[in-house]
């Protein structure tokens, strides 16, 4: 079950996206895979439709985020189009008590954890650093510092282990993060302590303008076994493969077998953020090639072929997506900016004399205008 492929030299670069585990071909044809199959054999039509629905919702939410940014309502947005399968698929496999440590791009994961409309946009609008209540959805604040959350997930997992619980921590990050020290230190700690943590690397091929070949001359999933952590390299555009791999990893963690690593090979269809211009560094042909591997179209084709989804089902999902987008838009445009003195709140849990003096000075300054 571990990634075992070895490469003798680096001259060939990393294997392409064809060298992955999958159960759905890009055209939606179901193919057997001995490793993944046992983990998804029980998926009901209802669960499969829910997966599809959440992927469509994620894409619609993402499109709304981009639109709101273009309309000046958000300062920035980090699109996740193309990565819906890995985000939604892995999140669907989680239990309520599990805790996710997302990066800034994990909109589909937050959807899976039950985030509310305002939770997606207030941070990007500049109203809050993290709008959602981490306890309500068992998700840490979105991480901007690349890979830092991998250590937090590992520490949380060490805590869960000490508590004797079966809760699992999940760290989400991209291929660029695997170059960071924190991600490597997290694997050392997770492995040494047998922490129940799952590392989900969404290898979306690009870290802003840097292709994955700048981060890795060897398959990223191939690194984990070197830390003593088993890994799977899966097709990140195959939602079923994502569910299967995550269930495999979660099961290992719950059985006390420690950390696992998943490299989900996918593609970031849009820019890194709305400030980025990907036409400067990548070919239209590459984007077109990946368009043919679209994760939503693939699952749709499969579900339709199996008679689990029809036009009316599709229309219903589209309505739900529009409703979510409208709610997000309302939450965004209706947001009220906090009073200025609240920027001094919550720097410390307990009173801090120096900061209180500054707050008082600033409040007095502001009051000077009101007289």
């Amino acid at each position: 079950m571990t990634y075992t492929q070895t490469q003798d030299s680096v001259t060939g670069g990393v294997p392409d996206e064809g060298d992955v585990l999958r159960v759905l071909e890009p055209d939606g044809a179901r193919v057997p895979d001995a490793t993944l199959e046992p983990w998804i054999a029980d998926l009901s039509p209802h669960e499969l439709r829910a997966l599809h629905r959440d992927m469509v919702l994620t894409r619609r939410l993402d499109a709304e985020g981009v639109a709101l940014q273009r309309q000046g309502q958000l300062a920035l947005w980090a699109p996740c189009r193309g990565q819906e399968a890995v985000q939604v698929g892995t999140a669907h496999a989680l239990a309520p008590g599990d805790f996710v440590f997302p990066s800034y791009r994990e909109h589909g994961v937050l959807l899976g954890r039950g985030a509310q409309p305002a939770d997606y946009v207030l941070a990007w609008r500049g109203e809050e650093h993290s709008a959602y209540d981490h306890r309500a959805i068992n998700a840490a604040p979105p991480q901007i510092i690349i890979g830092a959350q991998s250590l937090h997930a590992t520490g949380w997992a060490m805590g869960a282990q000490r508590d004797g619980s079966t809760d699992v921590a999940v760290a989400y990050y991209g291929d660029g993060a695997t170059s960071q020290g924190d991600v490597n230190e997290a694997m050392v700690f997770a492995s040494s302590f047998g922490a129940p943590v799952v590392f989900v690397c969404s290898n979306n091929q690009w870290a802003i303008s840097e292709p994955v070949t700048v981060q890795a001359k060897y398959p990223i999933a191939g690194r984990a076994p070197g830390f003593g952590i088993p890994s799977l390299r899966i097709d990140g555009n195959d939602a079923l493969a994502c569910v299967a791999a995550m269930r495999w990893a979660l099961d290992r963690a719950r059985r006390g077998e420690g950390p696992s690593f998943i490299e989900a090979v996918t593609y970031r269809m849009g820019p890194h953020t709305t400030s980025d211009d990907p036409t400067r560094y990548r070919d239209a042909a590459e984007v077109e090639e990946w368009t043919q591997r679209d994760p939503i179209a693939r699952l749709e084709a499969y579900l339709r072929a199996e008679g689990m989804l029809d036009d009316s089902g599709m229309a219903e999902v589209a309505r739900a997506a529009d409703a979510l987008a409208a709610e997000v838009r309302t939450a965004c445009i209706g947001a009220t900016t906090r009073a200025p003195e609240t920027m001094f709140d919550h720097v410390y849990a307990e009173p801090h004399a120096g900061l209180e003096r500054q707050r008082a000075e600033y409040v007095a300054y502001l009051e000077g205008f009101e007289k």
């Binding site: 805790f99 440590f101 809050e128 650093h129 993290s130 209540d133 981490h134 306890r135 840490a140 604040p141 510092i145 830092a148 991998s150 250590l151 937090h152 997930a153 590992t154 520490g155 949380w156 997992a157 060490m158 805590g159 869960a160 000490r162 508590d163 921590a169 020290g181 924190d182 230190e185 997290a186 050392v188 700690f189 040494s192 709140d345 919550h346 720097v347 410390y348 849990a349 307990e350 801090h352 004399a353 120096g354 900061l355 003096r357």
Partner: protein
């Protein structure tokens, strides 16, 4: 009261913290079987087990970053950074994560984390083993920064730091680890002065010396020497560098009208710069002379054979006292 070294007082505080709250964990390199390179955690793993006193991989960002996750899960980790100069690999986790999570989460996430750092020079150590990085942390909102100068404070302040819901950078002056003092091991934390308050270590009327950590002892020695010269120097032990207890500092400066700030860290943009600026803002009309700073030089910590020229000693402090007393350039004697 029990006579304890500063190192033993810290050990006693950690032991008490582990005993009274099962959410307290110790983490660090070599802190378990070895008892730490300074033996400060001696015997604690034996007593509390490897699940409570954790020997970690040699990775400072890993130690602090996993402690963040443990805190999120409800634990109260006390981590040891083996030496001051080794804290930099963990700097990102400390200033971007530990310091900011409470703020970023609108107060929902607490970071009751203590980061213990054996600190500063004067022990003839190798490169990277004698640094004074306190200004980096004082400059970072969200962190509390404290420095103990004697066994009693080390014992009480460390227990207060563990009890605090804020992250605390806890500096331990390593050249005082073996110095002894009376410690009240049964002291009730509720009766002890809070760790954010400064302490008047010695009362005086002619000038104020403000300092912290191991320099408190040097300043007290200077005050004793100045007494022979008929001078009465007040010595303030800051104890807390963030926040700084300006009430105590200002009260002293208003009384004496003259102030010398001394620390071992480099001068530029250091704690002394902050002190002098705040004193000037708050006590300008009481000042009889320009405040003086006696600090480490703006150089990397020098090779140990030269460190006596870097770490301010009694004579350099008295030289500055002369200047604030407008008694010329000479050393008092």
């Amino acid at each position: 009261m029990t006579a304890l070294t500063l190192g033993s007082a810290i050990n006693a505080a950690l032991s008490k913290a582990l005993e009274s709250d099962d959410k307290v964990l110790l983490m660090g390199e070599d802190i378990g079987k070895l008892g730490g390179v300074f033996r400060v955690t001696d015997g604690l793993q034996q007593r509390f087990g490897a699940q409570r006193v954790i020997d970690t991989p040699l990775a400072e960002a890993g130690i602090v970053g996993t402690a963040v996750g443990l805190a999120l899960r409800g634990y109260r980790p006390v981590v040891e950074i083996q030496f001051d100069g080794f804290v930099y690999p963990a700097f990102d986790q400390i200033v971007c994560q530990v310091a900011k999570l409470h703020y970023r989460s609108n107060g929902r996430i607490r970071m009751p984390l203590v980061i213990r750092i054996p600190w500063a020079g004067g022990v003839g150590a190798a490169e990277h083993h004698s640094e004074s990085p306190e200004a980096y942390f004082v400059h970072t909102a969200g962190l509390r920064v404290v420095a103990a100068s004697n066994p009693q404070d080390a014992y009480v302040m460390l227990r207060q730091a563990v009890a605090s819901d804020d992250p605390v950078i806890f500096f331990e002056p390593k050249r005082l680890y073996h110095s002894k003092g009376e410690v009240d091991l049964d002291a009730d934390l509720a009766d002890a002065p809070p760790m954010h308050l400064a302490r008047v270590a010695r009362e005086g009327t002619d000038a104020t010396i403000v300092t912290y950590g191991a320099q408190v002892r040097t300043a007290l020695d200077a005050a004793l020497a100045a007494e022979d010269d008929g001078l009465s120097l007040e010595v303030i032990d800051l104890r807390s560098l963030s926040p700084i207890d300006m009430n105590t500092v200002a009260a002293s400066v208003r009384k004496t009208g003259r102030v010398v700030v001394t620390h071992e860290a480099a001068r530029e943009a250091g704690v002394g710069a902050e002190l002098v600026a705040s004193i000037t803002e708050q006590c300008f009309e009481y000042l009889e002379a320009p405040p003086q700073r006696v600090t480490g030089h703006d150089i990397p910590y020098p090779p140990s054979k030269l460190e006596k020229h870097h770490v301010p000693d009694l004579d350099r402090i008295l030289f500055a006292v002369d200047r604030v007393l407008e008694r010329g350039e000479g050393v008092l004697r």
